[in-house]
Symmetry: D2
Subunit: 365 residues, 4 copies
Amino acid sequence: MRADVQRFSLKDPSDVSGLREAIDKGVIDPANIVAIIGKTHGNGLVNDYTRGYLTLCLSQLIGARMGVAAETVRKRVPFVFSGGVEGVLSAHYVVFTVDRDTQPAGDGKSLAVGVALTAELSPPDIGRKRQIDATAEGVRQAMANAGIQNPDDVHFVQVKGPAFTLEDIVAAGTSTCATDNPGKLMGFGRAASALGVAKALGEIPANQATENAVLRNFQAYSSVASVSAGVEVRVNEIIVVGLSPAWSGPLTIAHRRMQDALDIGSVTALARDLGLSPEPQVPAAQARRIRAAFVKCEAQRDGTIRGRPHTMLNDGDIDQQRHIRGAVGAIVAAVLNDTALFVSGGAEHQGPDGGGLIAIIAEQA
Amino acid sequence: MRADVQRFSLKDPSDVSGLREAIDKGVIDPANIVAIIGKTHGNGLVNDYTRGYLTLCLSQLIGARMGVAAETVRKRVPFVFSGGVEGVLSAHYVVFTVDRDTQPAGDGKSLAVGVALTAELSPPDIGRKRQIDATAEGVRQAMANAGIQNPDDVHFVQVKGPAFTLEDIVAAGTSTCATDNPGKLMGFGRAASALGVAKALGEIPANQATENAVLRNFQAYSSVASVSAGVEVRVNEIIVVGLSPAWSGPLTIAHRRMQDALDIGSVTALARDLGLSPEPQVPAAQARRIRAAFVKCEAQRDGTIRGRPHTMLNDGDIDQQRHIRGAVGAIVAAVLNDTALFVSGGAEHQGPDGGGLIAIIAEQA
Amino acid sequence: MRADVQRFSLKDPSDVSGLREAIDKGVIDPANIVAIIGKTHGNGLVNDYTRGYLTLCLSQLIGARMGVAAETVRKRVPFVFSGGVEGVLSAHYVVFTVDRDTQPAGDGKSLAVGVALTAELSPPDIGRKRQIDATAEGVRQAMANAGIQNPDDVHFVQVKGPAFTLEDIVAAGTSTCATDNPGKLMGFGRAASALGVAKALGEIPANQATENAVLRNFQAYSSVASVSAGVEVRVNEIIVVGLSPAWSGPLTIAHRRMQDALDIGSVTALARDLGLSPEPQVPAAQARRIRAAFVKCEAQRDGTIRGRPHTMLNDGDIDQQRHIRGAVGAIVAAVLNDTALFVSGGAEHQGPDGGGLIAIIAEQA
Amino acid sequence: MRADVQRFSLKDPSDVSGLREAIDKGVIDPANIVAIIGKTHGNGLVNDYTRGYLTLCLSQLIGARMGVAAETVRKRVPFVFSGGVEGVLSAHYVVFTVDRDTQPAGDGKSLAVGVALTAELSPPDIGRKRQIDATAEGVRQAMANAGIQNPDDVHFVQVKGPAFTLEDIVAAGTSTCATDNPGKLMGFGRAASALGVAKALGEIPANQATENAVLRNFQAYSSVASVSAGVEVRVNEIIVVGLSPAWSGPLTIAHRRMQDALDIGSVTALARDLGLSPEPQVPAAQARRIRAAFVKCEAQRDGTIRGRPHTMLNDGDIDQQRHIRGAVGAIVAAVLNDTALFVSGGAEHQGPDGGGLIAIIAEQA
């Protein structure tokens, strides 16, 4: 098997011209698409409809080219979009394809991708044991699909889970849900899903991956989980990306934890892990080897960064997630010389408290 | 003469506890204060009242300690506050003091500071020849006050000019003003003032420092000008900071242009100019030598950064200045290991188009 | 001919369940749909993609039910969506259908609808003579299509014209456009289109419907024009709604100017024109007769309302259009006992300066 | 005793020119000022510093004119400012004075005012029994100070309680507080204070004024309580306004509940209670009799208004309080022909769930 990863610019949330051209030129076989991850133009919060808009347009394109219904595509392929391209960031989407007919060359590990979907989750499931366990089980399935045995070979697990509007929450019964605040429920969902990933990969003991730990024990975290939530899905979609000797091809992946929002050292270290030269910025010629980068980050909960106060959690005008994405996204963009980054806020249990993580897919040096 | 520069954290816009303590302990003689520059908690746009609030509180403190009216202090000392501490940035203010009794040690140049104020400017003056010329004349006066003869020894010129609300503009007659849009008039003012600085320092030929060039010829710019605007002043306040053999003390200053928002290389180069080690981040122990850093930046006017689109100029929810401050501020903070940075948007004619500039005051290595 | 107007709630911008059900139950023949007007969930500014999202979903639904491509539907049917349901407002869309086989009963005038599209407009056309004249010609065509001879029988003219992102403007050449500010160019387009309507209906002398009057002579205005702009169209789409003896059916329409944002008297007067009892609020049973209401409004340009200052034009956090829609929308909603109102900001030359207009389609008493 | 109420326009949060002129002309004796209530220009959320700014400026003015320290004034006089003048609203402040030497004329009741302050409240007290009981006790004291025996004669109770930033909450220990979300803690504080008022006035049985009812039992509410929170106070400041035969003067007060955001009928009914003619708008000549109006409102918790969905609780760009203030403020302004209204969001237990209340002070007819 051989995985490929291609990134396309997004002029507006309905702009699928990049993938269309790639399909029409024969560069991408739509039947090989296993997942699409991207950043869209919205605010990344509950009332962000750009994620659903792009999902619709891409699934219709793929369906049309394959001669199947868009719904069929959406049931098979996870579309994971995070809204919010603050500051220097640039809207884009990354298409993962798998060619099952290619044999491994036998000379080491290559990029491997596996996908799984959980059953439907309803508002009362969010942030609860059911979401933790369903996610853990999904990660194990996706690893199996990717032919990855060793959890250490997993470098990135993207989960996209459901978000619910107030109307949904009211319909489900507010008292049955972890919270009646739509934005906060998104946080519960990200947290429980991340703990599910950590549990599946053995990053934390199983007895820490509990409902009690959700949004409480921030020392329990995954270093490879990246979780988003959106109103356009009703299941947890899980994409496991790692390395496997059963796969061939020129691509690789690596990841690092980020200790806090200023941890530029982890970004440069990761770049060097991949044979890039970030001194202080990856040269443009090298930067072309980067196929995709995924970052999770969050505003430090105690209101400070390295001892100085920040204002992100007190701001009534700009949401904390928009602040932190713009900040951490800019740091990573400056090092990688690349602004088409998947930077997502809300890093509950995804990397160290107040920090997050970064994973990069690149052509091998 | 000897200049000192001290930076204080700002818990809220009325928090003058840092300076109060420094005065009360004898660390700062209020009579020696010549300028205060800082970042406050507001949005940095027309309806940001945190700048005026801090100005009032600081001028009252200084007035009380000196036994003079706060108004008297405000007429003598420029208070230059820029609102907006997006992302990782931290609100603070920097107090410049000058001790006129200290003799230079004779072994090189030290930090030198000079201040001047223009006459009052009314809405129709903004963005016009009168503002350009008044600023240029003010820069020459401030250089003289600082004992700086060579324009190459000027590393930072902070100008704070007036902003006007719609009510002011209507009262002045909208047709007499460069624009009737309060936010846009702030841009005209920053532009004309920057051209005035460039003219005074010989950075551009005098025939380029014209009304016609304002917001049109962006190749005409100053590499040391940093201009803000706020409703709380009615004159252009000008602070020239540079190096002079007539001054003594352990502080120095250096500056660099930033070519665009991702120009991390200029930040690290400047850090090295000052003997710091930004590989990739100035270590905490070294970072303590930094006394203040000033950054100007802007969203690139053509809607792209290094060929990829950004959304800052199309965003109806978050102003472009808030976006770009958060992004460039984070890059500089990550390199300097310091979040109490003066990062100001609206860099019209302040550094290259789409870029900006950075100046750092630090203890000599 | 017989016009019908049906209104459907919009849960999210892809929610076309209301129209789908109406078609599937035979209540609406999709071939009879001539226009759809609605309010979506976005911010109503340049980066509002909810308008295009709903346009896509509705045109696909109609196309699927008619067996034609969605593009074909979009070329024939104007989809006019304004983003922004601030405050009490509720997202919805109004479907206009025309049954050409019904003969008039001969006992008076009934609701009449006509549609026309201009040629494509490019960024340099916006706010210019070409847009004024093309709109005027389009209004005449749409009146002819509606069988309305007398301009006094025209009660509402909805125009949806193109908006352009910064990227479009740069591609067209910024110096060739009325402004390089995307949001401001939307205003130019609304203004020129409104003057085109006023010219066609004889509301102003032809010599006032000039490029010079655009955003300058606010005494030149139309009392029935409602103009929106969005990135998802490239022509001016024109919908004329009025009364004609050539049409039958139970629906009627009336309109009133609003002198300023507090002109509740015009709202109650219009309600009484239609036989409703707004003392102070139309009773729920009566309110069911309302099929649609269209409101244009704007923040008064001099920064005051009835002598007291407002803050809408100085606010860097919330756009003036979002403020005024929320305010005027609430006043109209409180009188009509109905929150599913089309309330649109940016009323340049649409009603008196600082005011706007309101039109209501209702079942005859 | 005789109470007077005067309202002054606020150009910016430091604009105390109105009161200064009134004092300097002898219209207001600063020693008679017992409370000031107003609306300032900020967002009305945690990071709104305009409230503190105006408090500082007014207290310094009063202190200077009385020859006492501003701190002394602030300890004696409640300054209750709510940020946010969305839509048509206009920033202003209302000065309550009491002349203790005037004897009642004996011919009925006149406006009566009484003030009380609780002890300091810390973050763990907010939303808890301690805040409920301290507020109830304060209301009883303020009634006594106002010479009001009958709770039915109390028409408006303004409470201003403390808000805390994240830093404060962290310092107090997040686990000891009702919530670690600064904005949400403001809601807890408003809720507990409102229940305290309801308890003191006998509007609800004492056994409903419990910690358990806070933000849970919304059928327990006060019809006269208006509660704000801000970082600039540390106690609950309580102002009771009502009618008493022990007072003289031409002013009166009345109030009404508002059932929901569209309840314009209660506004017109209240206007008629005061002898005004709101058909549909109080004429300008009559409107001059209005001295102050106070409104509380909130976005309906179930996401609908009269059966149609609203978006206020799902909006990541504009806070729900800004939405609802703009909407309900506009309705009241349109009826009263007056935009200088104190409209405050966050009506937890202040009026019916989803609704609120309105009180008007006016010259007797």
